[in-house]
Symmetry: C2
Subunit: 229 residues, 2 copies
């Protein structure tokens, strides 16, 4: 079987590009609120204003569309985190930074995570939070890759820093525990945080800074008390 040279490329023209983007945006919102199985391709097509076969046309299958959504979020997350992750790696490789700098880098990382949760002036902030909560309960090849990316770009730099702060290897169990707990302080806002407890219908920049300030205080307090044993 000879493969055709000029394969057709969905979304290569103007009209198709718009349609493809519209499907992707709607799928992001619908998958976030209803999940992969809960979101039907029919309501998705209707809400996006496209035909039912358009999903198969542009993304191959419903699963392919889900993959595309996850990869988009993963890329967005990596783009925001990667620079700091690289900076941390370089600083730690250069030697032993002073304690104050280690804590500062850890706080900077959590700042970015917080700003990711409350993605400023993004209309899909709510979907973003819901989707982050969903990857915990929808095991998948795509979501697994996203989790790996988050572990590599967020958790691993944190454990590296905390390992230095506690004078323990990065894969030490206590180091991993503390890293997870500190990240958990930010991750809690993916769930019933903003909607049910805090009644934040609008997320102002001041509120995001408030969250970042509090988590900074917690981190600094923790590593002012907890030192290498």
């Amino acid at each position: 079987m000879v493969e055709a040279v000029n394969r057709f490329r969905p979304g290569s023209q103007q009209r198709g590009e718009d349609t493809r983007r519209r499907i992707l945006e709607t799928a992001f919102e619908l998958f976030a609120s209803d999940g992969f199985e809960g979101a039907s391709t029919r309501t998705l097509a209707e809400r996006a204003g496209v035909n039912l076969p358009a999903i198969q046309y542009y993304f191959g299958s419903k699963e392919g569309l889900y993959r595309a959504v996850v990869e988009q979020i993963t890329d967005r997350m990596e783009a925001r985190v990667a620079p700091l992750a690289e900076h941390i790696r370089v600083e730690l490789d250069a030697g032993q930074p002073p304690r104050r700098q280690l804590v500062a880098m850890l706080c900077d990382m959590l700042d970015i995570v917080i700003s990711l949760m409350f993605d400023e002036n993004a209309p899909d902030r709510d979907s973003q939070q819901k989707f982050f909560a969903r990857i915990e309960v929808e095991p998948n090849a795509a979501t697994d890759a996203m989790q790996d990316s988050m572990i590599r770009h967020v958790l691993r730099p944190c454990t590296a820093i905390i390992g230095r702060l506690l004078d323990r290897p990065p894969d030490d169990e206590q180091v991993k525990l503390r890293a997870m707990m500190i990240i958990g302080q930010a991750k809690i806002f993916c769930g019933w945080g903003t909607s049910r407890v805090l009644h934040w219908d609008t997320v102002s920049e001041a509120r995001v800074r408030a969250v970042q300030t509090v988590i900074r205080e917690h981190i600094e307090a923790i590593f002012r008390s907890v030192r290498s044993s």
Copy 2:
């Protein structure tokens, strides 16, 4: 239409009681791993070793079964938390406890939450964690009630204590933020915690205590540094 006086009661006899319990257990595991829409009544009936109509017979509908599962978990959670929640309420009503006692009570509450996540020697610990993560993304009349229960029995006592520690009203935004973050340190273990980062295939009692010890240190460190402003 006259209502019959002697309504039939599914599960009132020995055999039916066993069947009912078997369905409930299997539903707990299946809903936890596959979600409400992902879990089909057919695979559920097959795995529980019962017929397909047995679900409607004992629980009215699939949704009724889901409700029963959620209520069972909610009751289990309330039974573990309620005594301490009441103790905290009484102590705070009596006056202003010393700072040390406030922190101790907060740590005790988190101890219980941790032990709930890692429900010792329970065969369904994995399902428990998954289900706790699911209620964040599966809005429902039943899950909403469970969230309300968790807010009332866990979050509210924590905010009450933290309000005293910071000399602020319990509904102060900074108080609620700190309470959520502290609980988030425990809640993080519902997700990719035990399985992907820590590679805990078995959860020993020592590991649970390790988590409790670390979170105690964090709480004590936070309120050693952060005081009323």
